[in-house]
Symmetry: C3
Subunit: 477 residues, 3 copies
């Protein structure tokens, strides 16, 4: 009873905040830090006029407006592509778990996209630019509410050279929701719904923007030459290590590790898992391609090439590694290999050479198979391999910027030392915060469903609903 009450109170609080924000929101964005970075990636002559315009209409009358319009459009399309990654996550996680927990996993994924975007608008976006607390993190505030002083729709500041304020928000909001979704797969099949909802909401609202600010907000990691192009560390390792902490506190699924033996719990639909990976790959064109932050032809096309080559190489790496180690060509390892390759190239997609990307991808595909087997051995029960794919390969990808980034990375001041410090800092911070939040939720609300519910499935237990009521269940054993 008390648990439920607290949960509802939390939700009321959130909704109340949203309503307050809706009527009262003031634009308090602190975004000037990133201008230099944006500018650096755009042909100089395209920008000069953009930075000096006095109103939106005045700017749109300059020759710089066309490049601005193209770039802005590309970032919006990229945001759409990142959005569809949530379909990918939903189906990968569902496919790799049991049919009796399908509704629950889908619900969690749908919830976290919805809540993630709302709380990012409410707090996260405006807290991603540090300053309030000695450059370490900042207070958040709701995004602006529409009409600027000039009375036009939208809100333009002269600090944006290649996209509008709204484009910046929506693109980043999709990333934020991604980070929280990564956790969802690792804790699947035994976590209490309400507990997960509270935990994931806090994580994406308050913690994700802090580590994000260290680099993309122009914080301390950025100041030391740390490079994480599209988020191998800031999104993927963040999600992976948050998941690790949650899994440790949550414990393994019943029947997974019995008498020192590892009992495989099979995923119920390989087509769903495959659809998911293809969708994630598709979305990654926006995730990495959009992170160029303009439509610069060289930049975006280069990123498409490195991203694709690494993903494909990762798939081959995963397939052949599983074939050698497990004696059979394993589809799910091939799929995880693709994701591993994509996560691996995410930090350096703009600087690693094409053939370097192939090497990064193959090695990521090998690493992920070994990592999955390793975590199973030490009884960290991660049903979908999220910790290995996003956590370990997120670390790997971040290091690869220094290892394979060549002259381009070196010129930008990238060093292996700071790549290591950066990815370690993000991972450890995510782990600790996740551990604390998940620990508190565990103590207050509980995070684990009962043994009967776990056995009977969370779909019926949590939702009173079956995912496939028309199909007969196979008798096992």
């Amino acid at each position: 009873m008390i648990t439920k009450l607290r949960f509802w109170k939390f939700l009321l609080l959130m909704l109340g905040l949203a309503f307050y924000a809706g009527t009262n929101a003031m634009a308090q964005e602190e975004v000037t830090e990133t201008v230099a970075e944006v500018v650096a990636e755009i042909p100089a002559d395209k920008l000069d006029e953009g930075l000096a315009y006095e109103s939106y209409d005045a700017f749109m009358a300059t020759p710089a407006a066309d490049f601005f319009t193209i770039s802005n459009l590309w970032l919006l399309i990229a945001a759409g592509l990142v959005f569809i990654m949530h379909l990918g996550f939903s189906t990968v996680e569902t496919g790799l778990t049991q049919s009796k927990n399908t509704v629950n996993i889908l619900f969690k994924n749908v919830f976290i996209v919805c809540m993630g975007v709302i709380v990012y608008a409410l707090w996260g976006f405006n807290s991603m630019y540090p300053g309030d607390f000695n450059g370490f993190f900042a207070m958040g505030s709701p995004i602006a509410n529409g009409f600027d002083s000039a009375g036009t729709v939208g809100n333009m500041t002269d600090s944006y050279a290649a996209y509008t304020y709204w484009t910046d928000f929506i693109f980043q909001a999709m990333f934020a929701a991604t980070a929280a979704t990564i956790v969802s797969g690792a804790v699947a099949e035994r976590i209490k719904l309400a507990g997960f909802m509270v935990y994931a909401t806090i994580l994406v609202c308050f913690v994700y923007p802090i580590t994000g600010s260290w680099e993309w907000g122009g914080g301390w990691l950025d100041a030391h030459g740390f490079a994480d192009f599209a988020g191998s560390s800031l999104v993927h390792a963040f999600g992976g290590y948050s998941a690790l902490a949650a899994v440790i506190l949550l414990g393994a699924r019943k029947g997974k590790y019995v008498d020192g033996k590892i009992k495989p719990i099979l995923g119920h639909s390989m087509p769903l898992a495959t659809i998911g990976v293809f969708m994630l790959f598709f979305g990654w064109f926006g995730f990495n391609g959009g992170s160029v932050l303009s439509a610069d032809p060289q930049g975006v096309s280069f990123v498409f090439v490195t991203t694709t080559l690494a993903g494909c190489a990762g798939g081959l790496g995963g397939m052949f590694t599983s074939w050698i180690l497990l004696k059979k060509p394993d589809l799910s390892m091939g799929l995880n290999g693709i994701l591993a390759g994509l996560v691996g190239i995410t930090a350096g997609a703009d600087v690693v050479s094409p053939w370097g990307s192939v090497v990064v991808g193959i090695l990521a595909g090998i690493i992920v198979v070994i990592a999955v087997l390793f975590f199973d051995k030490i009884k960290i029960d991660d049903p979908v391999g999220a910790i290995s794919v996003h956590g370990i390969c997120g670390n790997w990808g971040t290091l690869c910027v220094a290892l394979f980034g060549g002259a381009a990375a070196a010129d930008a001041g990238v060093t292996l030392t700071w790549q290591f410090i950066g990815t370690a800092a993000v991972s450890i911070f995510a782990f600790i915060c996740s551990f604390i939040i998940f620990g508190i939720v565990k103590a207050v609300m509980g995070v684990r469903v009962s043994e009967e519910e776990e056995f009977g499935g969370l779909d019926v237990g949590e939702h009173g609903q079956e995912a496939y009521p028309d199909f007969a269940v196979a008798s096992k054993g």
Copy 2:
């Protein structure tokens, strides 16, 4: 026998018309009405030259060509995104119904996209600009057939400032097909295939363009300041109220309402339903984003933000409302909540503020749950909730332009009175036309399958084909 004969005659007639059109089509488009609207949304200096060019090549040599090229490309991509909404509709409807009717539902959806686009080319597109009958509606005619007087591929008129004639057609054709698809879900699991095909073809070909012309064709509603940005009324309420008339004439599924009790008939695949909603959300970026009718950076980015926030807020609204009312967090209500939020913001995505969008979305999510329960109570059997999502929330969204559109809406002459008149007019007209057409089809061909066929499933009955022949069916009860 007579029924079948009539059906084939109808089809032969349609194909004959298509062939006639193929050899004889003349460009008779009447499109100048909308120019003012298009122009109003594009920075003036970008347009000046576009309106005065003498040939395509001459225009493409002007500085205005780049903005034109970007905008044109965006509308084409948006058309592709609206197309993929049909995958969304197909899987949502399939997932929320029984496995024995899956082939039938997929067939209907695939058919209506194909036929919808063809008849829109044949008649609908050129009838969307009223004038022939006192400004109320117009005669249609086939779209132009390719080569204009200048001998270049395509057909440009100087009335198009931000996209070509072909782009205009394909973008609007995707919308037209959408309207008819909405009906398909509401009448699922007991409608006769041939009857549905004839009904839906007539609806999309002749009726949809009439209500469309009232606003987007510059008709009487447009003249009174009625605002429906991307079609809360013109597409969604149109589809929803057409569905309502059809469902009333068709009757409920056998066994749904027995002895005064409502017996739930469960959907057979929640992953399919979820895939569908994600795809619809993804497509909505094109549905709303493309309705800016140019790549104007402020306009498109603002619409992306309001659309996303309303969809996410709608999901939360649906989830929590179902949790409170039904005691369990219901996935399908969360999914319908997302759709409700998206439908709700569609009319005002260009003027409602971001936090206003959140409020519009949450309320739409609440409304849709209540509406679904209400229609079930009055024995309107709508297996997928299409009437609630598209009809009721289409009305709601149209009113929201006046309620939440603020200064931007007021400046454009939007009033609550005319928003109400407009959405009521579209809904009632759709209902009446649908009632008449469906009634005639019912009288002539029959619309309802036999009780045995309904019990055994339409897949075997109508198609002689099972959707999942490899899987054993669960015994019920």
Copy 3:
């Protein structure tokens, strides 16, 4: 044992080559041939400056840069759309076959995308421009490895007017992978995994670029006015006739043709098949739309219209033809009709008029149904109809350029004779090469699984993994 050894040796060789390439790759692209074609499709004044620039930065400072940026972005987005066609192929093939072979089919599809892109980077791309051997074919070499002499990211040559070198590569790489995937469906449910992997890799690496070079590389077919806009012959007929050779050598599935009777083997999931066709249609906007090779508004919008109309007309053609011939409206024939219409318009999407496209599509939809029935009659066992859809309709579409291309095609020097010679040459060459490669693989490694494995399913046999372990299998008969 020997078989396995040879397989691993082959793979080691490929990976070794990849690594060698990664460290040693030199840019040896021979691409100037196509410039004339590219230029021809772009407004002249947009190009003049582009062809004369001295460095990337110098070019980006010219007014031509904006059109270049838009076009480049469109080709990248189109590449992403072609990528998602692989999700389409995977789910169509899976849906139309039995559940016991699902993992195997998914594995093959995922593998071939990954390997296809890598070997295209390693050899194929730079062999698509003939010259080394009397204009018939060329030696390949790895793509360039990143940094050009100017030290910027990417590699620009002044021969590219509307997209970068990297964009050219990634767009074409997606096409290459498509060709090999077509075979995968036709040989499904009885082919040995390792044999298929070696065969498909060789096909996409060495054979596909040869026929591609004849037209797109400016080879002998191009010189005679042969037109194949986006690859009805070069991609689809190539894949279809390669599949035909493989199927002949492989033989039919056990139990398919017994005592002179054709026993249907049903697909296990019609939703998967439908998802696949929608995804393929969606991807085709990039496949055909991107083949304009710029964002030219007339060109791209016209191609969207012809592509959509042909696909929709094909669906109607397939539906009604199956209804007449098979007495029931068959969903899979409708789906194959859509694909047939799309394949049919692919060669002439830029010149066939809109109503001509409808005719091309309807006829393709009729042809595909007849072709499927014909191949079944002569005991060519093609589980998904790939030979009919891609092979036969690929031929049909190529002829349609001359038949329905009108003045635009005639002006470009297109003749029915050379359309026939071209599509025949590509088809026969693909058939012969496929026959030889598949024959060698059959002799050395074996291509057919054992009868027990075929009966028990390739998922367990080849992968030790079930696609749907939670669901009970229906007992048959």
